[in-house]
Symmetry: C2
Subunit: 205 residues, 2 copies
């Protein structure tokens, strides 16, 4: 029995299994998790998993495809609400932190898997990273046209600079057992992106 | 047979095994690697490994302790060479990128292990991260006294902002198969840290 993407979207068991899998992966790590544990967490028979997924590897690959689409729809909606490039950047970072805070299991699985060297969901992660970088590049380029963002920037580096700093802030929060409100970090972080840490030399400005 | 740290330092087999282990972990990932493969890579008998290490987990823990000390000695030496806080930051970031470029296997193992949720070398990673953050904090605080770095910063966030951006630049380089010179990224990255991406408003400056 093979399901097409459209059939899968309509099928609540498919999503149920994905959400259960992420809980199990977050708890035990991907390699130590078993399909049996995922089935138990989802409340389905082991065999049901194999109606939707080839194996454990396929579950993590499908999870990245599914969740990326979902999260990016939200990112784009927030970005579209802002009136200028600096507010668009602010809305993106706020939503980014909010999504990870809201779903801690996803945050754990995402942080671990994206930093693997041999990644199971290699193609999905590349696509996701590309989507994020495209969104940042679009904001930066509009900001340059608006005269709000410096024109002498290497945009390829700016994208990694922003993604890396946000990831680290999320990673620190995860390892702190989420004791503080992650989203309160968004505005100070955006201020660092925009103004940097240096004192402005008035003669140069 | 138990060795003390001092005896270990003098023992070249201990270091030989650590370096071999990192090669094997980088190639196959930690979980899929075996002590037998490490022994083969190091050119020693399997039993020799157990003279120095309790098990595979102990190897990665010891690796982090050993390499952290080594790399931080170099960081501090570079930082000490600079005459002001902005150059100290520049020297730190240059050396950071240079160390990872020089030892790609270490870079792979470091990036993967530091982003695990359940980390084997938890204590060593916390200590390493603390040492890095202390070094950045020291540079930032001196810069504030010198009038080169803004006083209205949340230093706790600045440290993560810098570490995260550098890590992401290294991670992107690793996943690109190291096709470009990582160290050339240091100066543009430091420029982003110091000046940010925003256009300076002359009225405010």
């Amino acid at each position: 029995m093979k399901l097409t993407i459209n059939q899968k979207d309509k099928n609540s068991k498919y999503h149920l299994i994905l959400e259960a899998a992420v809980k199990v992966f977050a708890r035990h790590g991907f390699y130590q998790s078993t399909v049996a544990e995922i089935a138990k967490e989802a409340g389905v028979a082991d065999g049901t998993i194999y109606l939707y997924f080839k194996n454990k590897d396929d579950i993590i690959v499908q999870f990245f495809s599914y969740r990326t689409r979902q999260v990016f729809d939200r990112f784009r909606a927030e970005v579209a609400k802002a009136g200028n490039s600096l507010d668009r950047l602010r809305n993106l970072i706020r939503r980014h932190l909010a999504e990870f805070q809201r779903d801690r299991d996803m945050a754990i699985v995402y942080q671990v898997e994206t930093h693997q060297y041999s990644r199971l969901a290699e193609e999905q992660i590349r696509e996701m990273s590309q989507m994020y970088q495209d969104l940042v590049a679009e904001i930066v380029e509009t900001g340059q046209q608006e005269g709000r963002i410096r024109k002498d920037l290497y945009v390829g580096l700016v994208k990694r600079f922003i993604l890396g700093a946000v990831d680290e802030v999320i990673n620190t929060w995860l390892h702190s057992d989420g004791k503080y409100d992650l989203v309160t970090m968004a505005d100070p972080l955006v201020d660092l992106f925009i103004r940097g840490i240096g004192v402005v030399d008035k003669k140069e400005a």
